[in-house]
């Protein structure tokens, strides 16, 4: 299903660390970059070039860290892959960086050559040559180039060559048809694909951090259980043989286990957190309390788990060791907390909080300090991290009305500083988004 990308990479060895741009808390001034036409000698390669330029432009702009200098201002119009740019011309229009590229056909397939220049210092800072067997991989080339530019200039890991799995929704709100769907991180329609047929209700898909496997919940034969879905083979498999509902799954950082809730009929259907080893099939019960314990999420080093519990009376956030020891409440504010998700950087926990009639999505330190609200609205849910830990995606649902109208639900992207919120387009309504690791 997923084609392995064949990359031939030529990185320049001038390995200066991150350049001038510093990412600090608060609003970031986007860095101006110029992107020349991506040149192609025939109509096919010119078309690929246009597509690539659009993808790169869109990715960099949507990150909130770049803006592209208006093309009408460009003084020099040459292909600058082999020719040294007239840096003065680019300084004049205030482009801080300059990207130029061309596409050609070779006997091995489609070849892209790219050069990235630091205009103010008048030097090349990155070059890349890459060949793909056919045009089906064009979008991935665009994302790969975007990642290289982003990483070289911001010093942070890129996130463009990634996908988002989510739940596609359609139909009346009281009998919603929900399907798993997957798309490139930019939501481009060409990349969109349904993974299930809508016959069974599906919820809460999440990616494994190290491979192309998803864990999710499905009502197969009206039995709500956790499953895994291998995107490479298309195989689906139930996780464990449990005599009651299993739900709220997430992978461990090594992708070898799933941590989830199990509602045990022999324990008054109270939800406890279990760790299920996917290889040995052994299961370990981590919580034991009369309250609801759910929404577990591992720290990236695998040592701790944050989870949601109402053991103190109302739903709050707690941390425990990976074996269930040392349970401590971390949420400190007023309100009803849920959906805790540990950042891939390890430093923050994203969450939802319901207070004063509104949902909030925020982040806090892993000890619960420094809680900050990023976005507030009537209904917000399912925060999920970008693989570089700089952005969140989540869903936002409108109020619904007695006549069946309203209730539209959409997927959004936001910088954790609270700036640059964008809708990620989906062909139908979308909820429960989750981000893949870098491909």
């Amino acid at each position: 299903m997923i084609k392995k990308i064949l990359l031939i990479l030529f990185f320049s060895l001038n390995a200066n660390a991150a350049l001038e741009v510093t990412i600090a808390q608060g609003k970031v001034e986007p860095t101006p970059i110029a992107i020349t036409q991506i040149f192609g000698a025939d109509s096919d390669t010119a078309r690929y070039g246009n597509t690539l330029r659009q993808i790169i432009n869109n990715n960099l702009t949507n990150s909130g860290l770049f803006y592209t200098v208006n093309e009408d201002l460009y003084i020099q119009s040459d292909n600058l892959v082999e020719k040294v740019p007239r840096f003065e011309d680019w300084k004049l229009i205030k482009a801080q960086f300059l990207l130029s590229a061309d596409v050609s056909k070779t006997d091995k397939g489609i070849r892209l050559r790219m050069r990235l220049y630091d205009v103010f210092n008048g030097k090349e800072i990155e070059k890349l040559q890459l060949t793909i067997p056919d045009e089906n991989l064009i979008r991935r080339v665009g994302h790969t180039v975007s990642d290289i530019v982003y990483e070289r200039i911001t010093g942070e890991t890129g996130y463009f060559d990634t996908r988002i799995v989510y739940v596609s929704e359609i139909g009346p709100l009281d009998q919603r048809v929900k399907r798993l769907a997957i798309m490139d991180q930019d939501g481009h329609l060409d990349s969109h694909q349904f993974l299930t047929d809508g016959k069974n209700l599906v919820l809460t898909p999440r990616f494994a951090p190290n491979n192309q496997i998803i864990t999710y919940m499905e009502y197969k034969n009206n039995l709500p259980r956790v499953y895994i879905y291998n995107l490479k083979t298309g195989e689906r498999e139930i996780v464990g043989d449990f005599p009651g509902m299993t739900f709220a799954p997430r992978f461990s950082p090594d992708s070898q286990s799933v941590v989830m809730s199990f509602s045990d009929p022999n324990n008054a259907a109270n939800s406890e957190i279990y760790l299920m080893d996917l290889n040995t099939r052994s299961r370990l019960r981590l919580t034991n309390d009369s309250g609801i314990d759910t929404s577990p999420s591992f720290s990236p080093n695998g040592e701790k788990i944050v989870f949601n519990s109402d053991r103190g009376g109302s739903p709050q956030l707690f941390i425990m060791d990976k074996n269930g020891d040392n349970i401590k409440r971390i949420s400190k504010g007023r309100g009803v907390y849920g959906n805790p998700v540990w950042s891939p950087r390890g430093d923050l926990i994203a969450f939802t909080k319901l207070t004063q009639g509104n949902f909030h999505i925020g982040v806090m330190d892993t000890n619960g300090n420094n809680e900050r609200v990023i976005v507030r609205d009537f209904s917000l849910e399912s925060p999920a991290w970008s693989p570089n830990g700089r952005y969140l995606i989540f869903h936002r649902q409108k109020r619904s009305n007695l006549d069946g109208t309203g209730g539209e639900v959409t997927i959004h992207f936001i910088d954790i500083t609270g700036y640059n919120e964008r809708v990620i387009p989906t062909p139908r309504d979308g909820s429960d988004p989750a981000w893949s690791p870098l491909l």
């Binding site: 509602s263 259907a269 759910t294 949601n308 209904s379 849910e381 109020r399 009305n401 069946g404 309203g406």
Partner: protein, 158 residues
Amino acid sequence: MLIVAGFFLASCAATKTEEGGNVDAASTSASSSSGGEITAGTQEDLIVNVGDRVFFEFDSSELTVDAQATLDAQAAWLMQYPDTNITVEGHADERGTREYNLALGDKRAFSVYSYLAQAGIDTNRMEYVSWGKERPEVIGSDETAYSQNRRGVTLVSN
């Protein structure tokens, strides 16, 4: 457009009932006990003559006094029709996370299930399932809708 068509169809179905046709067994707006004969021991019988559902307080799976009275009547009815099997559905309103509401819905369904079991209904006749906030009875983002959606529903499954 679709919604308008839906209402139109619904009103057609109601008219048909007046003429002595079938009442949709899944319909819960059972106010129209209009002449149609209700077959004893069916879902419709349960809805009209006993009550198929109980309601819960916000974030609670405890059975209220009213709920217990309804379930006492359900238990008596189930005793009367010993060949009837049921599935109990637990539901939540939309003001909570999806996962927490799945857990809450399961506790609610289990509250109903275990109450009926204690009232003498054989557990082999009963199943239960949580739908969390996925299947509201009433669409709407206000307390009127929410109070109807925090529910445990008994469905005849055979």
